[in-house]
């Protein structure tokens, strides 16, 4: 009898033991802003898009570049201005359409269209040509040795599907536009969209025809993605087993999660810097002395110790250490000095201070609102009366980007691992091609020219020299007040085997179970 029971029990175990088919319940503070892969250049938006769409090449969980829809790429020997991409054969979109070079030409042009936030990444491109059905040439204005680094989040859409659904251009999120692609997808990725309810729940299922199924046997059969803004609720969901992985364990709860049976915390330095932006065109912050005063009135060590509980890396430059151009010297942050700050304020003619509004997100970065609150206090100490306006990122970003804000918080990750990406978005004068995230009013034609020259500089030594020069100007202008680089803390079930990706982008096809 007992033997029979045991056999039955083991049979039950065999049935219920997961074999390459499991649901992952995934949570983080904020939702993706849109499913249109070119409309927003934002971390959580790309992180969700990566499950359904593929770029030509991508970063693996360690951050190294690996092939995706392109199998190989190289600059032509006779013309270094042309990069030739060989595309993967036999790839199908989720709706069954074949993936060919015309989809690549279409998608890259779409990513350069008006309304796209990806266009700065392609600003060096002159022409995109299909050579045959599975070969594409990208011609740049000058030889751009680092072009491929710019393509890791450049998702490929199906031309036919986009035409049929009238999504030939991305929608402008800041203007409140939407299109069919905002809520629908047709990618080549490892997962297919099943259902989506914004800010509530997105369900994906594994793609049986995924081109990578032989390369990376996908063990996840279903993804249920739920944004949970409240830190306490999010960690409670992990502790109680309602979710399997959260990308942002609140810093105060790290020990609690570590000590909980069946859970673990994986930690890694993140390729993301957090900073404040200032309006240099108008108002008190247009005065350099005021910006200098604000910079040294920020007590970065206190923010690290108390707000971040040690989980941050204070910095004096808006560039994570992963990035080409980073030096110890730039990274050194100024000494916190209230007396000097007050002196600078009075030299600027603001000994009685002034009033300003600080725009801050409350569901994007780690402890974003708490950092802003402490900044309110620190600015108060040099007489600046700050009104805090904290909002969900979907409302915050249009304000921060649109130039309405005088004082705002932003975080910046660098997917290309190169300074040019920071300059092209945050330092170049705001035009319709470049500088889309530079609402500070900072504009320097010499710097603009240097930024453009980086795209066709083949002498990497000279290129690094130009980068250092641009950083010098940025550090002197102080339109940005750097705070720190983030540290990632992913909390997950112990049976999950998953590396922390430095860009905070989990690729669930790489996840395995133990």
């Amino acid at each position: 009898m007992i033997k029979k029971l045991l056999t039955m029990a083991s049979a039950v175990v065999m049935i219920t033991t997961p074999t390459f088919s499991e649901t992952i319940r995934w949570a983080r503070a904020g939702d993706s802003i849109t499913l249109d892969p070119h409309a927003q250049n934002e971390g959580p938006t790309h992180a969700l898009a990566h499950q359904m769409y593929d770029p030509l090449l991508q970063r693996d969980m360690a951050g190294a570049i690996i092939p995706a829809l392109a199998t190989s790429w190289k600059a032509l020997d006779n013309n270094p201005n042309v990069w030739r991409f060989k595309l993967r054969q036999g790839v199908k979109f989720h709706d069954g359409a074949d993936f060919t070079s015309e989809d690549v030409v279409f998608s890259l042009n779409r990513a350069m269209a008006d309304g796209s936030e990806m266009k700065e990444l392609l600003s060096s491109i002159k022409d995109i040509r299909a050579v045959d059905t599975h070969t594409v040439d990208l011609e740049t204005h000058g030889a751009n040795p680092l072009l491929v680094n710019n393509l890791t989040n450049m998702f490929i859409m199906d031309k036919g599907w986009s035409e049929a659904n009238n999504v030939l251009t991305p929608h402008d999120v800041a203007k409140g536009e939407t299109n069919f692609a905002t809520m629908n997808t047709n990618g080549t990725g490892a997962f297919i969209l099943v259902s989506r309810s914004v800010d509530e729940k997105t369900v994906l299922k594994s793609n049986p025809n995924y081109w990578g199924n032989n390369l990376y046997p996908t063990e996840v059969s279903k993804i249920i993605y739920t944004p949970i803004q409240s830190a306490a609720t999010r960690v409670a969901a992990l502790l109680s087993g309602q979710v399997d992985i959260i990308q942002d364990v609140p810093v105060q709860d790290l020990d609690r999660v570590r000590e909980t049976n069946g859970l673990k915390v994986a930690t890694a330095a993140q390729n993301r810097v957090i900073f404040f932006g200032l309006d240099t065109a108008e108002g008190p912050t247009s005065n350099l002395k005021v910006r200098q005063a604000m910079n040294i009135a920020i007590n970065r060590e206190a923010i690290k110790k108390v707000v971040m509980r040690g989980q941050s890396d204070p910095t004096g430059v808006i560039m994570p250490p992963f990035v080409n151009g980073w030096t110890e010297k730039l990274n050194a942050y100024p000494k916190y000095d209230l007396e000097e700050a007050k002196k600078l304020m009075s030299e600027a003619g603001y000994e009685d201070g002034f009033s300003i509004t600080l725009n801050c997100p409350n569901d994007r970065y780690i402890n974003d609102e708490a950092i802003c609150q402490s900044a309110v206090g620190m600015m108060g100490q040099i007489g600046i009366d700050v009104t805090l306006d904290a909002k969900p990122k979907a409302q915050h970003f249009p304000i921060a980007k649109g130039g309405e804000a005088d004082f705002y918080m932003l975080g910046w990750g660098v997917p290309t691992f190169d300074s040019h990406y920071i300059f092209n978005y945050l330092v170049h004068t705001q035009t319709d091609k470049r500088g889309s995230w530079n609402p500070t009013g900072f504009s320097n034609s010499a710097v603009d020219a240097m930024i453009v020259s980086l795209e066709s500089e083949t002498d990497l030594g000279a290129r690094d020299g130009t980068i250092a020069k641009i950083w010098g100007t940025v550090q002197d202008a102080q339109m940005y007040l750097p705070i720190h680089n983030q540290v990632l803390n992913w909390g997950m079930s112990k049976n999950i085997k998953f590396d922390v990706q430095p860009e905070d982008k989990p690729h669930f096809q790489f996840l395995s179970f133990e």
Binding site: S230, A231, A232, V235, A236, L239, P250, Q252, D253, D255, R256, N299, A302, I303, K305, V306, V307, S355, T357, N362, E369, A370, Q373, S374, V376, G377, M378, G380, Q381, G383, V386, T387, L388, D389, A390
Partner: protein, 301 residues
């Protein structure tokens, strides 16, 4: 005063321990809130006075960096919780009282008119009240709050936050008062003294205000007291949801919202002390209101 001390009301009051206890608690809390400026060791509404390094100090334990000691500890920004609770109590009470005052004025006015004049005006006001009754009052408060935030320019939002709270709670709580006043007015207007007043030629507004109003006020007093508890909770709820008092000028609800994030990490005091204060306040006001209803309603005796 002497008359009051010898009244049945005061006699009943002294013989109801719950009434006395709740009255003592409420008056102590009101007194603390009024004297917050003198009692509180720091001004929690002045962000410039905060030292971030004091953050997360446990109650009565010296801070690891600064060595400072706080009676109830500090919150995540280094704000002294005891001071924050006193000032937060003031915000909560002020919002509650003003909202009830607003609700009472609207409710009494509309109730009197509906009951006394009757006809289509009565139908209109009462159907409006019925419609509003079908929505939870917190939803209406959030709606009014949302509209107000949308209309106001950002630099005025913090200053106007309290006014907006009062408006949104006041406008969502008038219905029960209007219904009660209307009911009592319907009874009173059939009585002989009203007929007599009409007979000597007094105009309608005088009859309503001087003759009927004083006679419908005692149930209003009861409902207003209970509504006060509701209004305080509504304010805390709105602030807890992040749409009420801003974190730089916290009310009890805002403090509870902040404290909630540190429940798992062992900083229990940030949540516990404001929550206990809110509990004591709302419970005492409610108990006192209950006793008031029992005493002033002769049918329950």
């Amino acid at each position: 005063m002497n008359r009051f001390l010898k009244s049945d009301f005061f006699y009943d009051f002294l013989r109801a321990p719950i009434a006395v206890a709740s009255f003592v608690v409420v008056s102590t809390l009101i007194l603390l809130a009024l004297l917050a400026n003198f009692i509180a060791p720091t001004n929690p509404f002045d962000p410039a006075s905060l030292n971030l390094m004091n953050g997360f100090t446990a109650p009565m334990e010296p801070n690891a960096f600064t060595g400072e000691i706080f009676l109830m500890g500090t919150d995540d920004q280094g704000r002294d919780l005891f001071s924050a609770i006193l000032f937060g109590l003031r915000v909560s009470l002020f919002v509650g009282l003003m909202a009830v005052l607003l609700a009472t004025v609207i409710g009494v006015f509309l109730g009197l008119i509906a009951g006394y004049i009757g006809g289509w005006l009565d139908s209109l006001i009462m159907r409006l009240a019925d419609i509003q009754m079908t929505f939870p009052s917190i939803l209406i408060a959030m709606l009014i709050y949302g509209v107000a935030r949308g209309v106001l320019p950002p630099e005025l939002r913090d200053e106007m936050a309290i006014t907006v709270l009062i408006l949104s709670i006041g406008l969502s709580e008038w219905v029960s008062i209007a219904r009660t006043v209307r009911g009592s007015t319907l009874v009173e207007k059939e009585k002989e003294y009203v007929a007599a007043a009409r007979l000597i030629g007094l105009n309608h507004s005088r009859i309503m205000i001087r003759h009927i109003l004083p006679n419908v006020l005692s149930p209003v007093l009861v409902i207003a007291t209970i509504t006060l508890a509701l209004a305080i909770i509504a304010e805390a709820t709105l602030s807890f949801l992040g749409v009420g008092a801003p974190p730089t000028k916290p009310s009890l609800g805002t403090l509870i919202r902040v404290g909630q994030d540190f429940l798992f990490s062992g900083e229990w005091w940030i949540l516990l002390f404001p929550a206990l204060t809110l509990l004591a306040l709302a419970l005492s006001v409610n108990l006192f209101g209950d006793w008031l209803r029992d005493t002033l309603n002769p049918r329950l005796k």
